[in-house]
Each structure stands twice: as structure tokens, then as C-alpha cells.
């Protein structure tokens, strides 16, 4: 009976699975068995049943396979872990260096990422479509960028263009106002905005309706903190606060305190319309030619800001054509990090700091690599054994990657602990309250784990790849290990490490030099012992009398009224003409207004001519058309002594009667440029004056202040007495540089520390390796010094090389940083020498600590074992 028996083949996929499931090298017989069984089943019961059976068998095997694999990988993992921990414990010194080094690097990264948060202004719902209207303004051949826009622009855009969802003007115009509620009298900073401000920006309201809160010109919206200050437990809504002893404001809303990561910081908001009343200036908000209001707009989703900028230009030119002003839109969310219209701004500092942190991390990684490769000799036998008992290269690679990732993860944990310990210190350093809130910050958590794994891989790559290719025969025979070929790479890494360290040190010193320079630079006037009072209220009507009374206070040596303080000369103008002016010069000139005693009180020197004085007025020779300028302006005019020349602007003209020597009226980042000093009589035009400056004698300052207070209160009883020392204003001026300086300083210290840890580890390892050599040398008569030199020579050579590489780099970096300042210190040679000597001596100390130990050891101890 010969029936043609068909041969059935099981499904390919199922068979493939079966093969994968079966242990390596054993699949042949079972698949054969299965196929045979399948075949007979197919003959008897049909192909479908056979398929079901085959698949069923395969599926049944899967859980077993998974359990089996997991079991064995856990076994192997346990073994790897055991070996890893044994290694950590056996080489305590190395492990401590490795783990702390990496942990410090990690901690640096975390701290910096916490500080350089990019979360500024990200909480606004409309944030993506919000822009600030900024302008490029041309002064002759120079262009500057400002956020000033005409007051009429905002409403015009909103009314006339469908692309604009909303527009808001923002003006800190009133600066300070005096609030009185019951017995509390305080000076407060108030911002004036359009009522739609609360709709466009997302500052959540705790009380009141954001739609209508600011509708009334005398409505006041305040922060929760301030509401608590004034009203304690009372309901703030509907309360009345008397402002400047003249206006009654009603509290119509309370917003939650503005978060610290907002670039707009304010405690009080009022309707911008009120400014017309305050300054008795009905046309204030309908002007097209001044540029003193900040305008924010919200565009429709699909409108391109670039294209719309053109429309803004057209709109302004329609009212008041001017060539020199070019408006553009700048994304609101970018303002904090990116300076308007340019690539600069805080982002530069953020990048610098991130780089510093990464540097420290890289140094730690290099340490890790160096130490692990240096130690590879001690692990070589283990790898040989593993390979002999059947480990593949990939297993070894996995083991070493795993080991370094494990160490890196340990370091993260330690790093996080370090961060938690250091946060208060670091917060103090940066002046920002920082918190490591892991539950809030998933990105950071993933970031940390990512950093750990990446660092682990980076650090483990060299040993993993190098050691996995050891030949077991050689290793076990004892001839492989840390060869000299590899020590070249190690040296390069050490050099790199020290290059980075030296750069950091030089940068730190330069930052401090510049700070020192700025603190001590001669400003052109004497800023010490100058007290100033911001002026409001009735005092304005009695300037003359008040000044006389103040001069009578013992301890006051001079009094002067001014329009501004010397750190904030605000208003400026251009388009002045003079004889012999060339076409392309059109300087932007600052304006400043003061009384006769300015030069005497501030101790400013005259270069030419004379300053305004009572005698000039009495003699009838002081007319309104007379001016005092500074040397900068004289230089721009191209005349050394321009006294007697005339300055013209539109219908005004004036004669220069004097030139003052340049004094700095800006922070030293900026050049204090051309200046015109006006004089107006405070009896005729008291609104021009905002500050009273008094020079006091350094003795008995509290008494002098009390005397000044008494005078103030007789003239201005309704307003609180507020005074400041000018020098205090300078304290906070370079705070950003100071913070950067101190952060960079500590990070440089860390870099040095970590580098030296690495060097220490490496030196001790090499000394250990050469124990026998040292022993023999000593037996043959070598001196301790000789051996010291032998062991240290190498390192010193490489660190010296690092200096040579680092100096030019550091020089370029420092120079680039100093470009931020108009007045800068010079980068002197001693800084480089200092950094070099410092690093070399630390390196020598570190290395010789080990070397001395090795050199003074008794040769018997190291030669005994063979």
C-alpha cells in the first residue's frame, strides 16, 4: 500500500520562535522531533489541528523560557554585582576617588541646571503668541536697541489690525508713590498698565475680576503679600488707599504674588489712564513721537511676527515719519535670556556656566577612565578567567559598562545628596531660592538618569572596549595588563584635565580683577558719604527753604538738587547741531538737570569754563540759552575747548559756558557718553527736580541723618522719610558679575579638587606598580630624592605642558568676556603665572604625597615576595 505521503512543514514563524526559545546549540533534535510529530498529526487530523498543536507547544514554552533566561541573567547579574562591590571595597581609595569625583561633577551639573533655569516667563497661557515691540534706533552710524515705543501705538494696533488679539502698554512711569492707609505711610513702586494686562498675561487673581478690575482710573490691584501688609485679615476689596496725599484709590483686585521666574516684577498695578491726571498731561497717551512706553502685543496664531513688524513701521511713519526708528517684534518668552534683537544677554552667562559645569563633569569622567584603565591590570586575570569559562567579548563589555553605569548611578545618588546639602549655600551664592523638587520635575529626573547612564557609558567605554579584547592566554600567562601604549592616552587625558582646570582658574582671577577694578575705579566724582532723598509732595514747593535748612544741619557739608541719581541718567536726545558737525555724527546725548551746587557737592571737576552759579545769575549773564557739557561731548564735537560754541536743536540754541571732566553716570558695563547738564531754577520749574543730595561728614552719621529727617518732616509731614546712601546703590550694581565670579570660583576649586583626586589616584597606582623597581633601585643605592624626582618628573612635565596649552585659550576667553564692559581691567601676565604655579605646586604636592611613601618604604618589604 503505497500512498503518496505528503510532507507537511510547520509554519516558518513558529519554528523560528521555537529555535530561539530552545537553549543555544540544542535546537536540532527537538525541532526535528516537533516536525515529525507535526507531520504525523497533519496526516491524521488535518493541517489545522497540527498547526494549533505546534503553536500551542511553542506558546507553552515561552513563559518557561522567560523565567529561565531571567533566572540566569539574575544569576549573572548577581555575580557581576558581587564582583563590582568586591572591587569597590577592595580598592577603597580608588573607589572613593571615582565616586566622589563623579558625584561632584554630577552635583555641579545639577546645581547649574537648577540655576540656569529656562523656565522664565513660560507660565503665560498666551506666551507663544506674545511679543514685545522693540525698536532699533539709529544715532549717526551707531544703532541701539530699546523697548521704548510711542504711547499711541498700542491702542492703534489693537483697533486697526485684525492680526492683533490684544495689546498692553506697560509703564513704570510714576516710579514711586506714597501710600497712606490708616497709620501706615509707605513709599511704593507702582506700574501703570492698560486694563487688558490681566487678560493677556496669566497672573492669576486671588480676588476680583481680571476682566474689569483695572477699568476705573483710580482702581488699584495689588499682590497678596502687599494686601496682607496693609489690610492684614480684612478683606482688601473695596478698601481705599490715599496716594500722594491727593488721590483716593480703591482696591479692586488682588493677584497671587508674581513668581520669581517672571521678568515682569510688580506689586501694584494701576490704570495707565491715571498718568494723564498725575502729570496733568491730557495728550500723554496719544503721542507718536516719544519712545517712552513699553508695548506688548498678542498676535493671532498664524501671524508671522517678521511680516507684522513692517506694518508697525508703516503705522508709525503714517503719524510721524522718522528714518531713525525701526520697530520689530521680539518673542516675550525670549526676553529673559536673549537681549532684545541681539544674540547676547543672559544666555551667554548661562552658556558659560553650563560649560563650566560640563567641564567639571568631563574632568570627573576622565578621572574615572584613567583610574579604571590604570587598574585594568588587576582585573585582567578575572577577564581571562571569564573568557576561559565561556564568556563572550560582549559579556565582558556588558559587565564593564554595567559596572561603570552602576558607579555612575551611585555617584548620582551621592551627587543628589551633595546638592541637597549644598543648596542653601548655593542659593546664598546665587541670590536665588533654589529647590530640588524631584516630584515636580520629571524632566530633571530623566535628565539625571540620562546623565548618569551617559557618564557611565562615557567613562566605561574605554575600559570596556579595551579590556574585553584581552587575549585570555596572554592574560593568564601574566604578560598583559596596563601596557605603556595605553599610558600615552592616559597622559593626554591628564593634560586635558589640567588645561581645563587652569582655564577655570585664570577665568576666576580675571572676573575678580574686573570686579575689583569696577569697585575701585575713579568715577569722576566722590560717591562716598552722599545721602539722597527722593522728593515728593509739598517739599517741591519749598525747595529753596528746605535746602537752606538742610545746610544748617551739623554734619551736612553740601546740598544739591538733581533730576536723576548718577546711576540712572535716563532721558536723552539726538539731532543736535553745531558748527563744523560732520554728516554722519549724530550722538545720542544724555540730559541731566541740577542746581548750582552740583559740582561742589559731587566733587566733579571742571575742565574748561565755569559751572552755573548764583553770581552768573545775579550779574544777569546767565540766560536760559547756556549749557554745560562733558568732555565726551566736546570730543564728539571735535573741539578741545568748546566754550563759547553754540549748540542748536530745532528752534533751540544755546552757548556752551563750561565743560566738566567726564564722570561715570552709568554702571561700568557701559560707556558714559556725551552729556548736557542743564540748569533750571527750582523755584520756577520744581517738577524737573526729583532728588536732594546731601554730602555728609563721615563722623556722627546717625545724628546727621536725624537732623535731615527733622528738616524733611517739617516741610513734608505727609510723606514718609526715605533716604539712601549713593554708595549702597553701587553695592548691588555688579551683583550678577559677583555671583558669576563666586560660582566660577567654587567650580574652579572643585575642578582643581577633582583633577587632583585623579592625579593622586594615578600617582599612587603608578607608584604601586613600580614598587619592585623602586625597591631594586634603593638596594642598588638610589637616594630618596632620586626616586622622588623619578616619580614626580613625569607628572610635572605634563602639567607644565597643560599650562602652555591653557594660557592662550584662557586669554581669548577672558578677553571675550571683558568685551562686555566699557571699562575693563587689563589681563596681566601675573595671572597666568599665578595659575601655572598654583596648579604645578598642587600637582607636585599631590604626587609627592604618594611618591614619598613609595620612596621611603623599606625595600625589603617590597622585594620579599616573589
Amino acid at each position: 500500500m503505497s500512498i503518496e505521503r505528503r510532507h507537511y512543514k510547520p509554519p516558518k514563524l513558529a519554528e523560528f520562535l521555537l529555535r530561539r526559545i530552545l537553549p543555544d546549540g540544542t535546537w536540532e533534535t527537538p525541532t526535528g522531533d516537533f516536525e515529525e510529530f507535526y507531520n504525523s498529526l497533519a496526516q491524521e487530523r488535518g493541517i489545522f489541528r497540527a498547526n494549533v498543536w505546534y503553536l500551542g507547544q511553542v506558546l507553552k514554552l515561552i513563559p518557561a523560557k522567560i523565567i529561565n533566561t531571567t533566572y540566569w541573567s539574575i544569576q549573572m547579574f548577581k555575580n557581576y554585582m558581587k564582583v563590582a562591590f568586591r572591587n569597590i571595597i577592595r580598592h577603597k581609595g580608588f573607589s572613593v576617588i571615582n565616586i566622589t569625583g563623579l558625584a561632584v561633577g554630577m552635583a555641579c551639573c545639577i546645581l547649574i541646571f537648577l540655576w540656569v533655569e529656562k523656565s522664565y516667563d513660560q507660565f503665560h497661557k498666551n506666551g507663544k503668541n506674545m511679543y514685545i515691540v522693540a525698536t532699533h534706533i539709529k544715532y549717526g552710524s551707531r544703532t541701539s536697541t530699546s523697548s521704548g515705543t510711542p504711547s499711541a501705538l498700542g491702542p492703534a494696533l489693537k483697533d486697526e489690525y485684525p492680526e492683533i488679539v490684544n495689546s498692553v502698554r506697560f509703564c513704570n512711569g510714576p516710579h514711586a508713590m506714597y501710600f497712606a492707609y490708616k497709620d501706615q505711610k509707605l513709599r511704593e513702586e507702582v506700574e501703570a498698565v492698560d486694563p487688558s494686562f490681566l487678560k493677556m498675561f496669566s497672573f492669576p487673581m486671588a480676588l476680583g475680576d481680571p476682566e474689569t478690575a483695572l477699568d476705573d482710573p483710580h482702581s488699584l490691584v495689588m499682590s497678596e503679600k502687599m494686601a496682607a501688609k496693609y489690610f492684614r485679615k480684612e478683606n482688601p476689596l473695596g478698601q481705599t488707599i490715599r496716594v500722594d496725599n491727593t488721590y483716593d484709590f480703591t482696591v479692586t483686585g488682588v493677584f497671587e504674588d508674581v513668581p520669581h521666574n517672571s521678568i515682569l516684577q510688580f506689586d501694584y498695578l494701576i490704570n495707565i489712564v491715571f498718568l494723564k491726571e498725575l502729570w496733568t498731561f491730557p495728550q500723554l497717551l496719544n503721542r507718536w513721537f516719544d519712545l517712552s512706553f513699553t508695548t506688548f502685543v498678542q498676535l493671532e496664531h498664524n501671524v508671522s511676527p517678521e511680516a507684522f513688524s513692517g506694518k508697525i513701521t508703516d503705522r508709525i511713519n503714517k503719524e510721524y515719519p522718522r528714518e531713525d526708528v525701526k520697530p520689530f517684534l521680539w518673542p516675550f518668552t525670549k526676553i529673559y535670556l536673549h537681549r532684545l534683537g541681539t544674540g547676547g544677554g543672559r544666555i551667554l552667562r548661562a552658556r558659560m556656566l553650563t560649560m563650566v559645569a560640563l567641564f567639571v563633569l568631563v574632568i570627573a569622567c576622565i578621572n574615572f577612565m584613567n583610574l579604571t584603565t590604570a587598574r585594568s591590570g588587576t582585573r585582567a586575570k578575572e577577564i581571562g578567567m571569564r573568557k576561559v569559562t565561556g564568556a563572550y567579548k560582549i559579556d565582558i563589555i556588558k559587565q564593564f559598562f554595567g559596572e561603570s553605569v552602576l558607579l555612575a548611578l551611585l555617584s548620582v545618588c551621592l551627587g543628589v545628596v551633595l546638592v541637597l546639602l549644598l543648596l542653601p549655600v548655593f542659593s546664598g551664592l546665587t541670590g536665588k531660592t533654589l529647590g530640588l523638587n524631584i516630584s515636580d520635575n520629571l524632566l530633571l529626573v530623566f535628565g539625571l538618569i540620562g546623565i548618569a547612564v551617559a557618564t557611565g557609558f562615557l567613562a566605561g567605554s574605554y575600559p570596556a572596549l579595551m579590556m574585553s579584547s584581552f587575549q585570555p592566554v596572554k592574560v593568564l600567562r601574566g604578560s598583559a595588563g596596563a601596557g605603556s601604549k595605553k599610558s600615552m592616552l592616559r597622559k593626554i587625558l591628564v593634560v586635558f584635565q589640567f588645561v581645563v582646570t587652569i582655564i577655570l582658574i585664570i577665568r576666576t582671577v580675571v572676573v575678580y580683577e574686573q570686579l575689583d577694578y569696577m569697585r575701585n575705579k575713579d568715577l569722576g566724582f566722590n560717591r562716598d558719604h552722599l545721602v539722597y532723598l527722593p522728593v515728593s509732595g509739598a517739599l517741591k514747593e519749598h525747595y529753596g527753604a528746605a535746602k537752606q535748612e538742610l545746610l544748617k544741619v551739623p554734619g551736612v557739608s553740601g546740598v544739591s538738587l538733581t533730576s536723576r541719581t548718577p546711576l540712572l541718567f535716563g532721558s536723552s536726545g539726538s539731532n543736535w547741531n553745531w558748527e563744523g558737525k560732520s554728516e554722519d555724527t549724530n550722538p545720542s546725548i544724555r540730559y541731566f538737570c541740577c542746581d548750582y551746587d552740583f559740582v561742589k557737592t559731587f566733587e566733579v571737576e571742571m575742565a574748561y569754563g565755569q559751572f552755573y552759579s548764583e553770581e552768573l545769575t545775579k550779574g544777569g549773564s546767565l540766560q536760559s540759552g547756556q549749557l554745560v557739557i562733558n568732555e565726551q561731548l566736546a570730543a564728539v564735537m571735535g573741539k578741545e575747548n568748546p566754550v563759547g560754541m553754540r549748540l542748536l536743536k530745532r528752534d533751540q540754541q544755546a552757548t556752551i559756558i563750561g565743560v566738566v571732566k567726564d564722570f561715570n553716570y552709568w554702571p561700568l558695563h557701559h560707556q558714559s557718553g556725551p552729556l548736557i547738564i542743564f540748569h533750571k531754577s527750582y523755584n520756577d520749574e520744581p517738577h524737573r527736580y526729583r532728588y536732594i543730595f546731601a554730602r555728609v561728614r563721615p563722623e556722627n552719621i546717625p545724628q546727621t541723618i536725624a537732623g535731615i529727617k527733622e528738616v524733611y518732616e517739617t516741610f513734608n509731614p505727609e510723606f514718609p522719610f526715605i533716604y539712601r546712601f549713593l554708595e549702597d546703590d553701587y553695592v548691588g550694581l555688579y551683583v550678577s558679575e559677583e555671583r558669576t565670579g563666586s560660582v566660577v570660583k567654587y567650580f574652579s576649586l572643585l575642578a582643581i579638587l577633582v583633577s587632583c583626586l585623579g592625579l593622586f589616584g594615578l600617582a599612587s597606582f603608578l607608584a604601586e606598580q613600580r614598587t619592585k623597581e623602586i625597591g631594586i633601585r634603593k638596594v642598588l643605592g638610589s637616594s630618596v630624592q632620586g626616586i622622588l624626582v623619578l616619580l614626580s618628573k613625569e607628572f610635572v612635565k605634563w602639567v607644565a605642558l597643560a599650562n602652555v596649552i591653557a594660557w592662550p585659550i584662557a586669554w581669548f576667553m577672558s578677553r571675550a568676556w571683558l568685551q562686555n564692559f566699557a571699562y575693563r581691567t587689563s589681563i596681566e601676565l601675573w595671572i597666568f603665572l599665578f595659575a601655572g604655579v598654583l596648579v604645578v605646586s598642587i600637582a607636585v604636592l599631590t604626587v609627592s604625597f604618594q611618591s614619598i611613601k613609595a620612596a621611603t618604604a623599606n625595600p625589603i618589604d617590597c622585594l620579599r615576595y616573589e
Binding site: 525541532t31 526535528g32 516536525e35 510529530f37 504525523s40 507547544q57
Partner: protein, 107 residues
Amino acid sequence: MDLLTRAEELILLAVWRLKDDAYCIPIHEQVSLITGETLSLGSIYMPLDRLVKKGFLESYLSEATPERGGRHKRIYRLTREGLKALQKIRNVQDRMWSGIPDLTEEG
């Protein structure tokens, strides 16, 4: 006392009977026949492996046939220890059952 388990006994006997054709499929067939139960193929491999480890069985690869997709059979054979173990369990069994009449329920 290291006696064979019932399953091991079954398999060893199947191998003994099948002589030169004792590979997985016929063994499975035999065992299913004797016990009257349908067993999975997998449940044969485990005791076979165990018996090899214990030294009661040895195995070698034999010819490949087309219905196996051209793959070799693994033929099992009793070792001397395997034979001894079978004899021992047989003796124990005989003694255990001797003198016992038919098992019926007693009232």
C-alpha cells in the same frame, strides 16, 4: 534508597522496548499508549534529560529523515546502570505486590 520514579520507570521501559528506534517521538507514543493519557512532547524531554544526567541513559545522534525536515534524531540507549535500576525496581515491585490478592473493597 534511590529508586526510580514512576515516570522514569515508564520512560526507561519504553527505551528498552524500542531498542534502536528509541527517540523522542516513539517514546512519547509508547508512554501515551501505556498510560492511556495524552502527554505533551515537552513532558518527555525533561525526564529524558534527567535520566541522561543520572547516567541511566546515554544518547547519540542518528540519521536524518525527510519527515523531520532533514534533522538528526537523538537516539537513547540504556546504560548498565539504567538496566540495573530497572531490575532493582522490578524486584522491589514484585516483592511489594507478592501475596496480595485482587484489590477489592472489603466490607
